[in-house]
Structures are given as structure tokens and as C-alpha cells.
């Protein structure tokens, strides 16, 4: 076992982690730990853009952006946080440009902007061009640019170090324990501040735009420490995943003029959102698509999907603005988007919930108290700027604004704090976890358990949910937990043991699936990405509040999930019916 000491440890090297590192490494000794290489992070898969009211191509202001974010989130957004994000968005985009990000340009050479779902002028009057973009690989360019800046600034990375535990001393964060993939060795990192920026957990679902590696490790680690997770029932299903595969086709396709059609070739979004049509927020479009399929207006031999139509766009326009996603359609479905419509269906995309934080990125132990030294930013966190449904482009914005804020806050804290003494045998939990799995004599295959988990989540906890379906999911998860206790890791070696890694990841996925379902069962209303057919309307009287889930273990070692609630911060905007 090796020991290290840093002022600030950042877990995860996607957009939020690297943005935080650029701040904290300026003034404190910082290390970034990632289970991948930084440029492999899923920030790189984001496509359509990052919204900011630059007003480069038409009138706009950050207050309109704030309103759209709050309304898009079905009023579950903490409005103070949304204000911060939308106000700082302008500088966040300009900062990236100054770092070298190659945005597309207007005729005057300014950063170009385009339409995106749910982003409107003057509180819903009409759609507005607010998304700053680099073709349809904006996330790729953000990830590359931040990595390049980290190179310039000599940020220290520990690549392929898989963090498996958070160390706490007297209620404060004091370090992490990591497993080095190349050697199987354990490393104990002592730190004054720990920032989780480890992304989401889309792999609880089968049909997902998420990478194989998005297994909710950061949320899982915090959860097992008895710390709360907020609003886990809110998961976004992106309308346009490639049918059958889930590979993401950016909303920019509709921002650039693409249209969704059913088997009658009808532009069905006109019925669901008469003003903004195909550019309604994602939860509404995803539900509309699923509804078209359920009511027999789906396309294909089984009527299982709808079509994204780009055929009326000029090929040159498609090539300039949407080159990557049209290539995905060609590569994976053999469809030529110039002349053919593309089969699409909702795909699990983004966790609105996560580790609760305040607007500085400080993690919360409950509704009121921060955990000294612990921070979270990006998809792993819940500030909450996304509420019940995130608007497109606001995730790239979130990682830049709150990654930066968490980096600054963590460094400021580390400048005055002292290193806490680590608990005795700090590595004990990870040794037990890893060796328990490696030496297991069980016979259950990792992939079989994971596949069954994803199947029940897709069937019972997806776009449409009921009490019955969620209860079924819970029954299934209970059974899967028993099977997981008997899981087999075939690779017994130390070196690059990805078999072992997958088993650990699966453990986190099962935990988080259960939190999601339990939280969803108790939210007896429909709001944003959480739609209950048995409670089909929003209920502000009983449910205008965040869910806070806690893991509790009784004296006999039995685990239960306790749900508590946290008020929503409302400043400017009173809840109203959400129409587009």
C-alpha cells in the first residue's frame, strides 16, 4: 500500500473535475484521480452546445435563461442556484474561448449561437438562439480544451486509479482510498479537501446514451458512508437515441430544423407543444414519443420507434453543423440522413439528482449542514440547478460553473484547514470489498446480474412509472442483491483486472437503482422527468420539495432507506403550469 498527501483530491477527470483542477491547482497542491484517462470522460460525448445569454445573434439576457431553467426543471430547481449558473454562464463561455475552444463563428467572427430545447426569449415567447457550439462535438472540444489547459498548468493526474472509498475523520473529509488498475495496488490519499466529479449512473438502464464506465461510483461511495443523495428519482430520458442502441443524437438536430415524425409522417410534436413543437424540453418530447409508440403510431416492423427527419435540410448545412451524429446514423444503422429519416427512441441520459451541494459546491450532510472538506460538482452533484428535468446544454454549463466554484471553494478551505488524522487502517473497507469479490466462490455472472438489473429498470422505472411497476422493480432489485452476494469474479489476478472492476461497479449500480426506485415510489405526483401514470399531475401542495435519501443500518446490520425532504429555494418565479 502506498500513501500520498495532497491539499486537494479531485475524483474524476471529466469537465467538472478538470475545471475544478484548473482553479485548485493554482493555489494548492492538487491531484486528479480518474479510473480512465482524462480525455476518455463522457463530457466528450456531449454534442449540441453550452447555453449562455451572450446575445451574439439576437436579444437575450441571463434572467430569461434563468426562467427557462426553472420552468424546464418543473419548478423543482433551487432558484438561487439557477441564477448563479445563468449569470456566470456568459463568463464561463468566454473563459473557454480564451482557453482556445474553437467555437463556431458568426459572420462577424463572434461565437455563433443556435436554438435548443426549452430555451426561449422573454419567458416563453418564442425559441431563442442561446447555445454556443463547436459543430456537434461541443463536449469533445470542452474536454480537450480543459485537458490542454491542465497540461499547460502541469496538473497532476493519477490515471486509471479507481477511487473506492472516502475517508472521514470527525465528520470531515480526510482523504480517499484508490485501487490502481495497472497493478492492483491500493493507495491511501490524505487530503484536506475532496471533490467528487465522477459523473452519473446511466448504466442502471439498458437503453442509455451513457458510457459503460458511468456506474455512479462517486454517488455510491458517498451513499455507503451514510451521506444523503438528493432527488434520485429524477432521471432524464433523451428523446433522440438511435433506436435499439441508445447512442445519442443531439437535440441540435432539432435545433437546426430537424422534425420528429410518426408512422403517418405527422409532425406529432405540434399536438403536444404547439408553440415550440420539436424544441420542447426533453421530458415532454420523450413522453410524447413513447406515447406515439404506445398508441400504435410508431414506425418500423414492431412500431417501436419514431423518426427524426433531417431530409429537408441542405446536405452542406448538415455537414457543417451536424457531422458527427449523421455519421453515427450511417455507421450504426446504415441510414443516410440526407435522404432517409432516422429511427429514434428515448435513451437514459442524465441524472438530475446526486450528492446534495450548496452553490459553492460544498456537499451537505443534511438539509442544513455542510460536510467540511467535501465537495461535488457536475452530474454526480445535485445543486439543484436542473430540478426535475435538465434543459439541453445546461449540463456543459453546470460542469464549468460549478466545477470552477467547487475548485475555488476546496482550495480556499485547504489553505486554512489542517490535515486530519486518518482513521485507523484507512484501507480496511476497500481491502474487504476488493478481496471479498476477488476471492468469491460464487457462480453468478456479473453480466447476467447487470443485464437483469437493466431490464427491470427499463421496464419498470423508465419514462412511464406506476406504483405497480416500481414495486416490481424493488422486488427484482432485492433478488438481484442476493444474487450479487454470490457473484463470481473469474479474473483472480492483480494486473488490469477489469473483471473485478466490473463487479465493484455493479455493486454501486444496484445500490443506486434501489435509491432511485424507492425515491420514485414515494413521489406520488408527476413532475419533469418523473412521470407517474397513477398520479399524472404535478402536486405542489405535497411534493414541491426535494427528496433526501439516507442509508441506515440497524444494530443487526440490516440496511434500510430513509426518505426525508428539503424545501425548494424559490426567489423570483412562482410555480405555474408548464406549457410550451
Amino acid at each position: 500500500m502506498q500513501q500520498h498527501q495532497y491539499d486537494v483530491i479531485i475524483v474524476g477527470a471529466g469537465g467538472a473535475g478538470m475545471r475544478a483542477a484548473l482553479e485548485s491547482s493554482k493555489r494548492t497542491r492538487t491531484a486528479v484521480l480518474t479510473k480512465l484517462y482524462p480525455t476518455r470522460s463522457h463530457t466528450g460525448a456531449a454534442q449540441g452546445g453550452m447555453c449562455a445569454a451572450l446575445a451574439n445573434v439576437e436579444e437575450d439576457n441571463w434572467e430569461w435563461h434563468t426562467f427557462d431553467t426553472v420552468k424546464g426543471g418543473d419548478f423543482l430547481v433551487d432558484q438561487d442556484a439557477a441564477e448563479v449558473m445563468c449569470r456566470e454562464a456568459v463568463d464561463a463561455v468566454l473563459d473557454l474561448e480564451k482557453m482556445g475552444l474553437p467555437f463556431n463563428r458568426t459572420a462577424e467572427g463572434k461565437i455563433d449561437q443556435r436554438f435548443f430545447g426549452g430555451h426561449t426569449r422573454n419567458h416563453g415567447e418564442a425559441v431563442v438562439r442561446r447555445s454556443c457550439f463547436a459543430a456537434d462535438r461541443t463536449g469533445h472540444m470542452i474536454l480537450q480544451t480543459l485537458y490542454q489547459q491542465c497540461i499547460k498548468q502541469n496538473v497532476e493526474f493519477f490515471n486509471e486509479y479507481y477511487v473506492l472509498d472516502l475517508l472521514m475523520t470527525d465528520g470531515k473529509a480526510s482523504g480517499v482510498v484508490a485501487y490502481e488498475l495497472a497493478t492492483g495496488e491500493l493507495h491511501v490519499f490524505s487530503a484536506k479537501s475532496v471533490i467528487f466529479a465522477s459523473g452519473g449512473f446511466g448504466k442502471v438502464f439498458r437503453t442509455t446514451s451513457n458510457a459503460h464506465t458511468l456506474t455512479g461510483d462517486g454517488m455510491g461511495i458517498v451513499w455507503r458512508k451514510g451521506l444523503p443523495l438528493e432527488d434520485m428519482e429524477f432521471f432524464q430520458f433523451h428523446p433522440t437515441g438511435l433506436a435499439g442502441l441508445g447512442v445519442l443524437l443531439s437535440e441540435a438536430a432539432r435545433g437546426e430544423g430537424g422534425i420528429l415524425r410518426n408512422k403517418d409522417n405527422e409532425r406529432f410534436m405540434e399536438r403536444y407543444a404547439p408553440t415550440v413543437k420539436d424544441l420542447a424540453p426533453r421530458d415532454m418530447v420523450a413522453r410524447a414519443m413513447a406515447n406515439e409508440v404506445r398508441e400504435g403510431r410508431g414506425c418500423g416492423p414492431d412500431g417501436a420507434y419514431v423518426m427524426l427527419d433531417l431530409t429537408h435540410l441542405e446536405p452542406a448545412h448538415i455537414d457543417a453543423k451536424l457531422p458527427d451524429i449523421t455519421e453515427f446514423a450511417r455507421t450504426y444503422l446504415g441510414v443516410e440522413p440526407y435522404t432517409e429519416q432516422i429511427p429514434v427512441f428515448p435513451t437514459a441520459h442524465y441524472a438530475m439528482g446526486g450528492i446534495p451541494t450548496n452553490i459553492k459546491g460544498e456537499a451537505l450532510a443534511n438539509n442544513d449542514d455542510v460536510i467540511p472538506g467535501l465537495y461535488a460538482a457536475g452530474e454526480v452533484a445535485c445543486v439543484s440547478v436542473h430540478g426535475a428535468n435538465r434543459l439541453g446544454t445546461n449540463s456543459l454549463l453546470d460542469i464549468n460553473v460549478f466545477g470552477r466554484r467547487a475548485g475555488i471553494a476546496a482550495a480556499e478551505y485547504a489553505e486554512t484547514a489542517t490535515f486530519e488524522e486518518l482513521p485507523e487502517n484507512p484501507e480496511a473497507y476497500v481491502v474487504e470489498l476488493v478481496e471479498g469479490l476477488r476471492n468469491s466462490t460464487g457462480e453468478e455472472r456479473i453480466a447476467a446480474i447487470r443485464s437483469d438489473l437493466q431490464a427491470t429498470m427499463d421496464l419498470n422505472a423508465q419514462v412511464y412509472r406506476t406504483e405497480g411497476s416500481l414495486k416490481q422493480a424493488l422486488v427484482d432489485i432485492e433478488a438481484l442483491k442476493l444474487r450479487f452476494a454470490n457473484v463470481a469474479v473469474q479474473d483472480k489476478g492483480k494486473r488490469f483486472n477489469t473483471d473485478l472492476l466490473e463487479a465493484v461497479e455493479l455493486g454501486f449500480l444496484i445500490d443506486l437503482a434501489e435509491v432511485l426506485v424507492v425515491s420514485a415510489l414515494e413521489r406520488k405526483e408527476s413532475r419533469g422527468g418523473h412521470f407517474r401514470e397513477d398520479y399524472a399531475t404535478r402536486d405542489d401542495v405535497n411534493f414541491m420539495r426535494h427528496t433526501m435519501a439516507y442509508r441506515e443500518v440497524d444494530a443487526d446490520g440490516n440496511e434500510t432507506i430513509r426518505l426525508d425532504y428539503k424545501p425548494v429555494v424559490q426567489t423570483r418565479y412562482k410555480p405555474m403550469e408548464r406549457k410550451y
Binding site: L36, Y37, T39, R40, S41, H42, G44, A45, V93, L94, E97, K98, M99, G100, P102, F103, N104, R105, A107, E108, G109, K110, I111, D112, A134, A135, R137, H140, M141, Q144, Q148, Q149, I151, K152, A182, A211, H212, T213, V247, L248, D324, F328, T331, Y332, L333, G334, R445, I446, A447, A488, V489, Q490, D491, G493, K494, R495, F496, N497, T498, D499
Partner: protein, 234 residues
């Protein structure tokens, strides 16, 4: 359909030399090679080791040599590989194999870091964005697509023959800034590439261009850097 996949396996914890192992897998023609590897790992042999993440060609984790050509496993469909015959999968060449299809990527990233792959500017920053015409932006558009997968560098015979050459990717990484109208680091970067292990080692075999899963015209980018060196003008 039943497909035979022959994989070059190597685990230095267990054996001294790499050996080929053949697996039979049932696949759909539209499955990716990554799906085949997952099926083997998940259903037959959990020790099979490879890197992967996004599974749709944007993260750059799973470059490997498939039927003798560098490709991304997640972007190569079975039907495009003549699946009646055995499909061969081996690690990319020229980097030390750590286990099975996993190679040591550190030398590759070191070469990238060496070319100053970041915007260099001087003077005060403008309040708003730097102005750049779309035409100027287009000059380096192609090389911004790079995902650092190493398919190009590890397809290059010069890189295979000695590990000193920066390799195509590092030149692509430098090109992306050399031809960016906002950048002021061109002189320094060109000097780095003028080194004896720099661009002049390129023999224009076009392997890199063929290998690039992002369709970047790598050889053309290298030629543009050579020209910039000769004329000291971009």
C-alpha cells in the same frame, strides 16, 4: 450468425509470451467488434482485458488492430469484416503491451504533451471573445476532431521502428494550434517539430490517414506542418 474471433492474449502474471486464442461467438451482423469482445468477456472468459468507455467512437479508449488494421472496436461492425472468416484482434503496435489488448499509453500522451498542445497568447485578454472568422476557424477544423486514440501513431512504420519519433498524433495536436489564428506559439511549436525526431521522419505512407477513425486527413496535416517549417509561414 456464429463468428470466430481470434485474439492475441498476453498476461505477464501468468505466461511469458503472447498467444492466440480463438472464441466462437453468436453475433448479429450489425454488432460491433466491441460487442463481440464483451460477449466473450461476459459469457465465456472474464479474464479477457481491454479498455472501452463510450462505445460509439468518441472517447478513444478501444483502438486495436482488427484484421491487421488499426480501428476502434466500437466503430467496426462485424458485417464489414468478412465474418465468414476468422476475425483477428490484437493490441495496437509500438507501445508496450500490459495485458491482452491493453497497452501502455504513457509514451503516447508524453509525445502529445511535448508539442505544447494549448493556446499560447500574450498581452491583455480581451473582455469578450477573441474575434475569429469562420474561414480562419475552418483552417484547423479537421485536426480538432482528434480523440487521442493512438490509431494513427501506432499504424506508422516509422513509429514502430524506433520509439523516438513523436508520431502522427502529436503533429496533429500541434497542427490544431499552429493553424489557429488566435495562437502565438507557432515558432516554438515548429522548433519542437523541426527536431530530428519531428516531422521530417514522416515518410508519407498514409497509414495514419487510413487508420484515423475520425476521418482526419492526418498525412495532409503533417504536410502542412512541413510546409510551414520550410516557409516559416502558416
Amino acid at each position: 450468425m456464429d463468428v470466430k474471433v481470434k485474439i492475441l492474449r498476453y498476461n505477464p502474471e501468468v505466461v511469458d509470451e503472447a498467444e492466440w486464442k480463438t472464441y466462437s461467438v453468436t453475433l448479429q451482423p450489425t454488432d460491433r467488434v466491441l460487442d463481440a469482445l464483451h460477449k466473450i468477456k461476459w459469457e465465456q472468459d472474464g479474464t479477457l482485458t481491454f479498455r472501452r468507455s463510450c462505445a460509439h467512437g468518441v472517447c478513444g479508449s478501444d483502438a486495436m488492430r482488427i484484421n491487421g488494421r488499426n480501428r476502434l472496436a466500437c466503430k467496426t461492425l462485424i458485417k464489414d469484416l468478412n465474418p465468414d472468416k476468422e476475425i483477428t484482434v490484437e493490441p495496437i503496435k509500438g507501445l508496450t503491451v500490459l495485458k491482452d489488448l491493453v497497452v501502455d499509453m504513457d509514451p503516447f500522451f508524453e509525445a502529445y504533451r511535448a508539442v505544447m498542445p494549448f493556446l499560447v497568447t500574450s498581452g491583455h485578454e480581451p473582455t469578450r471573445e477573441r474575434i475569429q472568422s469562420q474561414a480562419d476557424r475552418d483552417r484547423f477544423d479537421d485536426t480538432t476532431k482528434c480523440i487521442l486514440c493512438a490509431a494513427c501513431t501506432t499504424s506508422c512504420p516509422v513509429f514502430w521502428s524506433d520509439g523516438q519519433y513523436f508520431g502522427p498524433q502529436a503533429i496533429v495536436g500541434a497542427h490544431r494550434f499552429i493553424f489557429d489564428s488566435r495562437d502565438e506559439g507557432t515558432e516554438q511549436r515548429l522548433e519542437i517539430l523541426n527536431d530530428k525526431e519531428g516531422v521530417w521522419r514522416c515518410r508519407t505512407t498514409f497509414n495514419c490517414t487510413d487508420a484515423c477513425p475520425r476521418g482526419i486527413e492526418v498525412t495532409k496535416a503533417i504536410q502542412e506542418v512541413k510546409r510551414a517549417l520550410i516557409f516559416r509561414r502558416v
